[in-house]
């Protein structure tokens, strides 16, 4: 799998550079987490976007094979969302001393998305497999991708009225030099490649399950 090899190469290079090569950032010694946390977050968005695209294709083309692809993409997205929350939480603990800060827009957004897409699985488990379930899952995935920007806007608006922010969360990023940008892009590309490799893997596994079931039924 070339994708997996590319992912490995890019990630090792990118994260290695992040850990050892770039200069330390003033005021935020834990900054290298940025190179892990942000690519993971962006990859999660990409997975949910991919799931929505496959969902749209399913509803458009009425082609049921897209259901598995959409489902696997949501699965990947949720895994990366959990990783985003965990790495974000670790960074928050270091920077602000608490494991959770409601004033971090990205963390709150991911919490909402995590809730939403977890409900996706509940939906799938409580409906009989078939075209009906595929349709409903697809519609739900589309709602998810629309919810993403709407929630982000809501969270931003909420800052003015909810919980006076006890912690000032404007993370003054460092000057983004070309080197920092390069390392970031490499890490991002690696993370996306990793997600793509895992997605392909998982999809193949699920398809194998389906084929084996079919084979078993025809042999018995």
């Amino acid at each position: 799998m070339w994708l997996a090899a590319a992912a490995a190469a890019l990630l090792v290079a990118g994260l290695g550079l992040a850990l050892f090569w770039i200069p330390e950032v003033e005021g935020d010694p834990a900054f290298p987490i940025f190179y892990l946390h942000v690519p993971i977050a962006l990859t999660a968005y990409a997975c949910f976007g991919w799931a929505a695209w496959k969902a749209l294709r399913l509803l458009w083309m009425r082609e049921s094979s897209y259901d598995l692809e959409s489902y696997t993409a949501v699965h990947m997205g949720v895994i990366f969302a959990i990783l985003t929350l965990v790495t974000g939480s670790i960074w928050a603990k270091y920077t602000w001393g608490q494991w959770w800060v409601w004033s971090s827009r990205q963390l709150v957004l991911f919490l909402v998305l995590f809730l939403f897409y977890s409900a996706y699985f509940m939906l799938r488990y409580s409906v009989e497999p078939g075209p009906r379930r595929a349709n409903m899952s697809a519609v739900y995935a589309l709602f998810g991708i629309v919810l993403l920007p709407v929630s982000f806007l809501a969270i931003r608006l909420a800052e003015d009225v909810i919980h006076p922010p006890p912690v000032v969360v404007t993370r003054e990023g460092p000057q983004i030099t070309d080197e920092l940008m390069l390392v970031f892009v490499v890490c991002l590309a690696g993370m996306l490649a990793l997600a793509a490799a895992l997605y392909t893997n998982e999809l193949a596994g699920k398809r194998l399950d389906g084929s084996l079931r079919e084979l078993r039924e025809s042999l018995q």
Binding site: M122, L123, V139, F143, V146
Partner: protein
Amino acid sequence: MTYFADVATLARKDLLLELRSRDTVPAMVLFVVAALVVFNFSVPADAEERASYGLLWIALVFTALLGLTRAFAAEREQRVLDGLVLAPCDRSAIWLGKGIAVVAFLLLAEAVALPAFHLFFEPVGLELVAGVLLADIGLASVGALLAAMAAASRTRELLLPLLFLPLVIPVVVGGVGASIAEDPGRYLAFLGLYDAVFAILSWATFEYVVTE
């Protein structure tokens, strides 16, 4: 335009059913008032008074959930939904008819809840009422579609809150903001945006939720 005639027929059917059976709206009214009373006992003494606006919105969201859980119950019991889907009307008319009925139920419940809130807790201003009206549209749009999904599932009443709550977080933000912010216009505009976006999406995708 037969589309709107269909919608009107469907909405009238739901409203008439409710008028005769009188089970959903009284339950919603009683629930929201009971919730407000519970809130009195749940807020600490030194809490900011404005916190009660937040509680009002929670109560409204859960009252909507209560009404929505019953939304497709009648159809499911009589297997009427299959018949409706087979009928030669645009499926989205089912959604619109149901949505209108849910808004009506919510308005009735709120006609009691808002004065009660005004009496028990904090003053109810014009912005709050505007927020509630806008929120009703959003809650009903999204709710009618999700209720149809839940009706097709095995777990039904258990599933609807799980699907509903994450999606309506923006409505709560908009509503609370409209109630307490210095500049409620932003929040009302946001509610309008939410309504527009999700109503269109629900209208366009409802067909797929009820068919194979």
